[in-house]
């Protein structure tokens, strides 16, 4: 049986209560909106890029503790990273939260983001943890879209 404290770790509860980078960026280079119809979570991710580097990243929205903390920790982790690095973090994060519960936790370069390893024990909550990341990817992809309306 899984322990709830594996899911609701102190770091997650802290970022839920006091989310970092919880603001808009005006004007952003890019933004995207994410929505999880299962629980009504809504999130907007804002990006300010300097060439290939994420100079600033922030978010706004409402959601459960997992989605809010995930967005908060994501923004902390991404500042100053290149788009390529953000992509590989996304992949590592996604791999970690969707791995079978009995597989060894591979946290690689995830650092603080490893606190979400417990999510794998709660399959219905994987979407909560990954909403911010999917929204980030949408924001990044919009950058390469020549007909972007942003």
């Amino acid at each position: 049986m899984s322990d709830l404290r594996d899911l609701y770790q102190e770091v997650i509860l802290d970022h839920n209560k006091r989310p970092r980078n919880f603001r808009a960026i005006a004007p952003p280079n890019q933004k995207a909106e994410g929505y999880n119809p299962l629980c009504g979570d809504r999130i907007t991710v804002y990006l300010r890029l300097n060439g290939d580097v994420i100079e600033d990243v922030a978010f706004e929205g409402s959601g459960c503790a997992i989605s809010k903390a995930s967005a908060s920790l994501m923004t902390d982790a991404l500042k100053g990273r290149t788009i390529g690095e953000a992509d590989s973090l996304f992949n590592e994060f996604h791999h970690m939260v969707t791995a079978p519960a009995d597989a060894p936790v591979e946290t690689g370069r995830l650092d603080k983001l490893a606190v979400f390893a417990g999510v794998r024990e709660y399959p219905v909550r994987v979407k909560c943890a990954s909403l911010a990341w999917h929204t980030l990817r949408a924001a990044l992809e919009a950058k390469h879209d020549v007909v972007s309306t942003e």
Binding site: L4, L13, C64, Y122, R125
Partner: protein, 417 residues
């Protein structure tokens, strides 16, 4: 089958322990804890008699209905049509031909939209729904409005989740062609004053559809007393199987409508030039129906009719009052939906905790509730919350289970403070 409606019987003590033995799933454990099933508004559990009847139907009389000349087909046909007769008696319809089998409430409403709506509504007309509707009584009308161009209007509600009856009359205009409202709200539990809604609409010659999905498991429904023109409900919310539901319609009204879907069983003759349609209700039942489901629904009706109904209602009422009292006493918990007339739903929010987190933590304690918008996004918007946690009760739930819910909510607070 008892056939008792139990309306005039004196109220006996309701023996919930005995009732619980009829539902095998209530013995299950979840995460090592006894299951506390409080998600009855999503789907209700099934008594052993329903399970057995469905198994027997498949094991002993599986055949297609209506067309077979062999014994098994005759047996299956009889069971299927017996189920229809049980439904007719259960909601006190005047005629068995007024009972149309569908997949569920959603299909029943879509059927009305695509037959009544498609032929009776034109641009500029209005359909009046309410602020409490489930998406299934909003979206079918929006889909049709895209084709036809009529207007969907909405009876507003108060902060407590009661419909604004003072505004109702004013919303009925010469262009109103149908009133389509929910009998009992799935997200807040409000019991709407449907008799009054129907009679006021009828004074203006406007027909009324009632979405009874959440009403049939809790109330004695009499469609003739309600005088509604359509009544829709699902088998699985009244302790029967999924995939079977009912559209009741007044016979003359049903007969005046075009078919819903085309196919076998809904025709009386077919040539490549033209087809003659079957009589009601078969006109609306194209293709092989959910035979096992209908038979299971019949068994659920038998089960419900075997209960002492006034005692059931008194028990449910007390359980809801107890749950309301316990939840209200919790710091930071706010109940949404405080209508004077309510059935079996405890929708709530907790300060600083998202309903989804509540749901996960409760699940670890064996307590199954629903979290989210409950397919009523306009209700959530009206109340200014993205979602709620919802505990919904049935007559097999107990005070002990409410206590377990409250203790589990204590764990939520422990984690989040």
């Amino acid at each position: 089958m008892s056939g008792l409606t139990a309306v005039s019987r004196p109220t006996a003590a309701f023996d919930v322990r005995r009732i619980r033995r009829d539902f095998p799933i209530l013995q299950e454990s979840v995460h090592g804890k006894p299951l506390v099933y409080l998600d009855n508004a999503a789907t209700a559990q099934k008594p052993q008699s329903v399970i057995d009847t469905m198994v027997r139907s498949l094991a002993e009389e599986n055949a297609n209905i209506h067309r077979g000349v062999h014994a098994l087909s005759e047996r299956a046909t009889r069971s299927f049509e017996d189920a229809r007769a049980k439904v007719k008696r259960f909601i006190n319809a005047a005629d068995v031909r007024e009972i149309v089998f569908v997949r569920g409430t959603t299909e029943a409403i879509n059927l009305v939209a695509q037959t009544f709506g498609r032929t009776r509504l034109t641009a500029g007309d209005e359909v009046l729904i309410s602020a409490l509707e489930h998406h299934s009584n909003i979206v079918p009308w929006q889909l049709l409005a895209e084709q036809v161009g009529f207007r969907l209007r909405v009876i507003p509600m108060t902060d407590s989740g009661e419909l604004r009856l003072d505004l109702y009359q004013g919303l009925l205009t010469p262009r109103t062609k149908l009133v389509s409202v929910v009998h009992v709200s799935n997200s807040l539990g409000t019991i709407n004053p449907v008799e009054e809604l129907v009679s006021v609409a009828h004074e203006r010659g406007i027909p009324v559809l009632l979405d009874g999905a959440q009403a049939v498991p809790h109330l004695k429904v009499d469609v003739q007393a309600l005088d509604c023109d359509f009544y829709a409900f699902s088998g699985h919310k009244m302790f029967g199987p999924t995939g079977i539901g009912v559209l009741y319609g007044k016979r003359t009204l049903l007969e005046s409508l075009p078919p819903y879907q085309g196919g076998g069983d809904m025709i009386s003759s077919v040539t490549f030039e033209k087809s003659e349609y079957n009589v009601v209700p078969y006109k609306f039942e194209a293709g092989t129906p959910n035979i096992t489901g209908a038979v299971g629904l019949g068994a659920a009706i038998d089960y419900l009719e075997g209960l002492d109904w006034p005692a059931v209602q008194e028990y449910e009422h007390e359980l809801l009052a107890y749950g309301t009292e316990r939840l209200s006493a919790l710091t930071g918990v706010r109940i949404l939906g405080t209508a004077a007339s309510k059935a079996s739903v405890l929708s709530f929010v907790m300060e600083h905790v998202h309903p989804h987190d509540i749901g996960t933590i409760l699940d670890q304690e064996g307590v199954a509730i629903r979290t989210g918008h409950h397919c009523t996004q306009p209700v959530m918007e009206r109340l200014g919350v993205p979602a709620t946690a919802r505990a919904s009760l049935a007559f097999y739930n107990t005070r002990d289970e409410i206590d377990t819910l409250v203790a589990a909510l204590g764990k939520v607070q422990e984690i989040f403070t």
